[in-house]
Symmetry: C2
Subunit: 214 residues, 2 copies
């Protein structure tokens, strides 16, 4: 019944992905867009690392930037993988809503399935926000001690990572709004708030470092 | 001499585009990432429009959303076209720096060519910021009167459009920092500030409308 998540955007042409996003299809949606923005942010930290490595002037930070590059590449891949996870979780919610509701027992089972699927659907966007938080750490290192000719790319990396956090967390909000377990909702709202405030603070830091170098 | 801008990301697989972005190649860079983020934002406004059109409940806004869809699709295409323009402009700067500088006359000609290319290179990022400003207008309409089930997609559209403005304007900053014509610099800095403040305000508005509906 569910829309099968055979979307692997890595192998999709950008134009085709954007057409799917723009369509009325239930997926990809905002969650997938957040993940692509996160992948753009991670790629820009990779770029700064690649422009720093092998340069005499930055020999002292060679080791640090090898690690940054490795992490940034890993994060980029995880963002792209998260798209599939987000769509799967969304499908589970849709499947649960599609369960029969003829008897009281069926209604109860359906209600439980929906609640459980909604809780599950908060996980991929939280994961995206946490990945983006890691990108923000890398972009700060890039702005602080990477190739100064690429300092605006470090800033761009941070701005896109912050937008990823904010966009991904909208999917948390929409799911929390239908979850009846109030202690779950309260805990996740706190986590959501922490992640979004941290992202804002971190992005501001990177932009400040960058502004001092332009 | 220049890196030829044969990049048409529309026909490139997402993975290949991200690999190019992450590499030490001079282009694509932050400007291209800004444009892709803008295309994501525009696609999300298209999505809300597509989820609004043809629904009995939203019959009253049918005409308005036909226009929104048309504009959003146009903006998405313009963002993707802007990538090529941004890379071309960058190449012109690189070409100018590559001009001979053996005689005083050559030095003067080179200096003028660099200054002119730098001024030209502020145009594509300004254009991207202006396109993103138009996306913000559309996402506000989407949040206000589009399908309420997709209100977070309208919010995501606005957040990504604001990130596009901020990211694109970094390329303005970096070019202005090397331009000696102070009245040009002053005028463009004013324009830059206006665009970035407007984007922030507009995105806040959309997020506020959205929050009221979740």
């Amino acid at each position: 019944m569910s829309v099968k998540s055979n979307i692997d955007p890595r192998n999709q042409k950008l134009d085709a992905f954007l057409n799917d996003l723009a369509s009325s299809k239930p997926a990809p949606g905002g969650g997938s867009a957040a993940a692509v923005a996160g992948a753009l942010g991670a790629a820009l930290s990779s770029m700064v690392a690649n422009l720093t490595l092998g340069k005499e002037k930055y020999k002292e930070v060679e080791g640090a930037f090898e690690t940054i590059l490795e992490k940034a590449e890993k994060l980029r891949n995880e963002f792209l993988r998260a798209i599939g996870e987000d769509i799967e979780a969304y499908n589970e919610v849709m499947d649960a809503y599609g369960l029969p509701k003829n008897t009281e027992e069926e209604k109860e089972r359906r209600r439980e399935a929906i609640q459980s699927a909604l809780k599950g659907a908060t996980e991929p966007p939280f994961k995206m926000a946490e990945l983006a938080d890691e990108v923000l750490e890398l972009s700060k290192e890039c702005a602080l001690s990477g190739n100064s000719h690429a300092v605006t790319d470090a800033g761009a990396s941070a701005i896109l990572a912050e937008a990823t956090v904010r966009t991904a967390l909208l999917n948390v909000d929409i799911n929390l709004s239908s979850i009846s377990d109030s202690s779950f909702v309260e805990e996740k709202r706190r986590k959501r708030k922490d992640l979004s405030q941290k992202a804002r603070r971190r992005a501001e830091e990177v932009v400040e470092i960058m502004d001092g170098k332009i």
